[in-house]
C-alpha cells in the first residue's frame, strides 16, 4: 500500500472525516442532518478510493450513492418525517438498557475486529509475497507506463475504468446480468410497495372484501373505475 507525501496527509484527513461524519450520522437528532452527514462520509470514502487507485469506483460511489440513493433518502424523509424529533419531544435512541447492551456489544466488536485486523496483518507481513518497498516502486512504475495520454497530451489518464470493464464483462458477465435482474425486481417491488389504495383500486388489484370495507369508510373510492388496458 504505502501512500507517501501528500497522499498520506489526504489519507488521514479523509479517513478521520469519514469516521467523524459517520459518528455524527448516527448521533444527529434531525434525520435530514443525518443524511447530510452520511453524504459527507460517503464522499470522504470516495476520496479514499481515489487514493487507493480505484477512480472508477469513486465516481460510481458519488454518482450512485450521493446522487441517487441519498436523494431517495432525503425524498422519503421529506415525505414521512413529522418533525417530532427536531422539536426535541421524542427520544432518538432506544431505551437506556438497550443502548447500554448494544454499546457494550459494539465495544467488544471494536476490540475483536481491531485485534483480528492486527493479527491478520501480522500474518500478511510474514508472508513471502508481501510487497517490499522496491517491489511497490517497480509496480507503480509499471502502472505509470500504462497511463494513456489525455486528449490535449498535456497529462496522463489512468486506465482503471478500462481494466475494470474488461474484467467485469470477461469474468463476471453472469453476475452482471443477475445484478440487472435484481435491479429490475427492486424497481417493480418498490412501485408495488409504495402504491396507495386508490392506485391499487384503479388497477383492480385489491381484495374485494377489503375494498368493500374501505368504501364503507371512504365512499369516494366507489367511484374509481378499474382501468384495464
Amino acid at each position: 500500500m504505502n501512500l507517501s507525501g501528500y497522499e498520506a496527509l489526504f489519507f488521514w484527513i479523509f479517513g478521520l472525516a469519514a469516521i467523524f461524519a459517520g459518528l455524527l450520522t448516527v448521533m444527529a437528532r434531525n434525520a435530514v442532518h443525518s443524511a447530510l452527514f452520511l453524504i459527507s462520509s460517503l464522499v470522504s470514502v470516495a476520496a479514499l478510493f481515489v487514493l487507493s487507485g480505484a477512480e472508477f469506483i469513486a465516481g460510481v460511489q458519488i454518482l450512485v450513492y450521493v446522487g441517487g440513493v441519498m436523494v431517495l433518502f432525503l425524498f422519503v424523509i421529506m415525505l414521512v418525517n413529522v418533525g417530532a424529533e427536531e422539536r426535541g419531544r421524542d427520544e432518538i435512541f432506544n431505551s437506556q438498557r438497550q443502548v447500554t447492551a448494544s454499546l457494550i456489544f459494539c465495544f467488544l466488536l471494536v476490540g475483536g475486529v481491531l485485534y483480528s485486523v492486527n493479527r491478520g496483518y501480522q500474518g500478511l507481513l510474514a508472508r513471502s509475497d508481501h510487497p517490499s518497498a522496491e517491489r511497490i516502486a517497480a509496480e507503480q512504475a509499471r502502472k505509470d507506463q500504462t497511463y494513456a495520454d489525455s486528449g490535449t497530451g498535456s497529462s496522463k489518464i489512468t486506465r482503471d475504468s478500462q481494466s475494470l470493464g474488461n474484467s467485469l464483462y470477461r469474468y463476471a458477465s453472469l453476475p452482471f446480468e443477475i445484478a440487472s435482474v435484481l435491479l429490475l425486481v427492486a424497481i417493480i417491488g418498490s412501485v408495488m410497495l409504495a402504491r396507495t389504495l386508490k392506485q391499487e383500486a384503479s388497477a383492480d388489484d385489491v381484495d374485494p372484501d377489503l375494498l368493500k370495507e374501505e368504501i364503507a369508510r371512504d365512499p369516494g373510492l366507489a367511484k374509481i373505475e378499474p382501468q384495464l388496458e
Binding site: 507517501s4 489519507f11 469506483i57 450512485v64 431517495l72 448494544s102 417491488g189
Partner: protein, 139 residues
C-alpha cells in the same frame, strides 16, 4: 508533507530521540507518514462498527437504513484496499476487488429502494417511523 516539518520536529525532539518515548514517537511518525493496508482496514472496521451501533441504538427507521449504507460502504473500503494491496504484490486478478465493490453498490441501491418503499407503506398504515412502535409481530 510531514517531511516539510521534520527539521523543526527534529530540533524539538533531538533530546527525546535518545529516550524510549522519542523512539516510539519516531516510529509512530514513520507509520503515520506511510499509511499502509492496515490503516485502511482500521478505518473500514471503525466505520462498520459505527454502522452497527446506529442499527442497534436508533429508533428512526430511516436512520437505521442509513447506518446499513455505512456498513456496506465500510465493506467496500476493505475490498478496494485489498485490491490495491494485491495489485502491488503483482497479482493479475487484483481488479476482482473492485468488481465486488460494484456489486455491493448495486445491492445497496436495490436494498435502499425496497427498504424505503417498505417505510412508505408502513408509514401509510401505522403513522409512525419509530421502530419500537412497529410491533405487529410481538405478543
Amino acid at each position: 508533507m510531514l517531511n516539510f516539518f521534520s527539521p523543526t520536529l527534529a530540533l524539538l525532539f533531538q533530546e527525546a530521540e535518545r529516550s524510549r518515548l522519542g523512539e516510539m514517537f519516531y516510529q509512530t511518525r514513520a507509520a503515520a507518514a506511510n499509511p499502509d493496508l492496515s490503516k485502511f482496514l482500521v478505518i473500514g472496521a471503525l466505520l462498520f462498527i459505527i454502522g452497527v451501533a446506529g442499527v442497534l441504538t436508533r429508533r428512526n427507521i430511516i436512520v437505521i437504513f442509513m447506518s446499513i449504507e455505512l456498513i456496506l460502504n465500510a465493506a467496500n473500503l476493505n475490498f478496494i484496499a485489498f485490491s490495491r494491496y494485491l495489485s502491488q504484490t503483482g497479482n493479475p486478478n487484483a481488479v476482482a476487488g473492485q468488481i465486488f465493490a460494484v456489486f455491493v453498490i448495486v445491492v445497496a441501491a436495490a436494498e435502499a429502494a425496497i427498504g424505503l418503499g417498505i417505510v412508505i407503506a408502513l408509514y401509510r398504515n401505522k403513522e409512525t417511523i419509530w421502530v419500537d412502535e412497529i410491533d405487529l409481530l410481538k405478543w
